[in-house]
């Protein structure tokens, strides 16, 4: 029973990691950049949600959509200002810039709002259902539902729409995509927008599930989602989903059966193991295929 309970809790946490990891992997797939500011976008999503609820009294769905919108615009702006000028520079330059953007976002939020954690307002009163001895809360069901809907929409966009085809084409061969008449810059902007919107959704869900938010809340989940993306195979979207779920479950199994002191360590243990055994990730081929 304890195992099943931790599995359910782990899948809920893992769904959140998966939403963040998808953004990492999409951006990597299209511009080969590890966007270390991605965790901070998630943090900002949580804060947008905070103000939407506290200041404007918005209910859940408008809050979610607003945070996704704000963060997608932010993601597009960051790409345009910080990363696009470096597109032809060595990768390490862009990577260091991404770390700079991350510190910038954390410190702007800290400067404007202070470093102290704030309680995320209660949008739902938590109800717990017991299913054959396993406790499932309405918040967990909400997390599963939102993650599922977003992932279905994402799959639809990527495989069924014109912009989705453009995204896949750019990630596979940028110059060939240009020769098809695809506007590569715009396609990259859309990729950042979608990835950032998913991170914002994760931020809102975390605010609801673990209701304390602060300017540095993005660091650890960001790193774990990055590990999840690498675990699944960086650049591969289903890999990021799988990696996120595995990370969430692994973390809560450690909490349940060992000690919560090691819940963060497990992420890095997984990273080390995957880099030693299969650096291309679970779903990665030798030549890692993207988006």
């Amino acid at each position: 029973m304890e195992f099943l309970q931790q599995l359910v809790n782990g899948l809920a946490l893992g769904s959140i990691y998966a939403l963040i990891a998808i953004g990492y992997t999409m951006v990597y797939g299209i511009v080969q950049l590890i966007n270390f500011a991605h965790g901070d976008i998630y943090m900002i999503g949580a804060f947008v949600g905070f103000f939407a609820v506290v200041k404007y009294g918005l209910p859940f769905l408008p809050t979610l959509l607003l945070a996704m919108l704000v963060c997608s615009v932010l993601g597009v702006i960051i790409e345009k200002i910080a990363y696009r000028p470096l597109r032809n520079s060595p990768r390490i330059t862009a990577l260091i810039t991404a770390i700079g953007v991350s510190l910038f976002l954390e410190n702007v939020v800290r400067w404007r709002l202070g470093p102290d954690p704030r309680p995320f307002p209660e949008l739902f009163s938590v109800k717990v259902f017991s299913l054959g001895g396993v406790q499932v809360s309405n918040v967990q069901l909400l997390i599963f539902g939102v993650a599922l809907v977003l992932i279905v929409i994402l799959q639809f966009i990527i495989y069924r729409t014109r912009i989705g085809k453009a995204m896949r084409a750019v990630s596979q061969d940028q110059d060939a995509a240009r020769l098809m008449g695809i506007n590569v810059d715009r396609t990259i902007s859309v990729t950042f927008a979608i990835g950032s919107a998913l991170a914002a959704a994760a931020g809102i869900l975390v605010g609801i599930a673990y209701p304390r938010i602060d300017p540095y809340m993005g660091i650890l989940p960001g790193l774990k989602a990055f590990v999840a993306a690498v675990l699944g195979g960086i650049g591969i979207i289903p890999g990021a989903m799988l990696g996120g779920l595995v990370m969430g479950v692994a973390e809560l199994m450690v909490v349940g059966f060992w000690s919560s002191d090691y819940r963060d360590a497990i992420a890095f243990a997984i990273l080390i193991i995957i880099l030693l055994i299969k650096p291309t990730g679970i779903l990665g081929k030798n030549q890692s295929e993207k988006v």
Partner: protein, 237 residues
């Protein structure tokens, strides 16, 4: 149809094209031949807007296209079949063809063109749901050409379509290029296989280290001693 006037193109400090001029007359097959590293691909990339010339200009149908973005060039009807095919390996044959028509909105006409491509390349129809990366070299070349046709090009640029193909396939590809030209598409064909290229082209240019060194009607160039010696392996016929 296309006029390139005195362009200079650089890769950093490397001066890849030097004061290059050439003209492609509407309705013709024009070929640009030259050894590896002569600057043939650079010329096509510049026409397609992937590279910008430092000086000189390009005029397409009375319109200055110098410095235009690649998607604008495609929209004007200049479509390239790049060196090494460059099909999208993790997309199906069908999706590759659809991407060829990326800028088009006329759905009905796109369907017609798709049927036409499948009629011309029945192998592609058989394999339409297969990933492009799993096709053979010849099939990938057909896909790359089919994908370009899906854009309804006025001017098709082909970069070494015979590269790495068996002689029988080379013949087939050249036959197809001739047919495409006969149905009204102007062609600029880049080749190292000078013999084959000269046999189907109307007009030809010879490129050496970024400079045009020789030009003329293809049939005449094929007979010139210089071309025979340097590009046709000293053949006498």
């Amino acid at each position: 149809m296309l006029k390139i006037n005195n362009i200079d193109v650089f890769y950093g400090a490397i001066h890849a094209l030097k004061d290059l001029s050439l003209t492609v007359e509407a309705g013709q097959i024009v070929t640009l031949i030259g050894a590896n590293g002569a600057g043939k691909s650079t010329t096509l990339k510049t026409i397609s807007g992937l590279l910008k010339p430092k000086s000189g200009n390009l005029i397409f149908q009375e319109q200055n296209i110098t410095g235009k973005a690649a998607q604008q060039i495609v929209a004007l009807g200049i479509v390239q079949v790049p060196e090494g095919r460059r099909v999208f390996p993790s997309m199906s044959v069908m999706e590759n063809l659809e991407l060829g028509a990326y800028l088009r909105k006329d759905r009905v006409a796109i369907r017609d063109d798709l049927d036409r491509v499948f009629t011309r390349f029945p192998r592609l129809q058989e394999r339409r749901s297969q990933m492009a990366g799993t096709l053979s070299g010849g099939e990938q070349q057909m896909l790359a050409i089919g994908r370009a046709l899906m854009a309804r090009p006025r001017l098709m640029l082909l970069d070494e379509p015979s590269m790495g193909l068996a002689p029988l396939l080379v013949r087939e590809i050249f036959e197809i290029i001739k047919e495409i030209n006969q149905t009204g598409t102007t062609i600029l064909l880049v080749e190292q296989n000078a013999h084959m290229a000269l046999s189907i082209a109307h007009y030809a240019y010879v490129l050496e280290t970024g400079k045009i060194v020789l030009e003329g009607p293809a049939a005449e160039l094929a007979q010139s001693d210089k071309v025979k010696e340097a590009y046709l392996g000293g053949r006498t016929n």
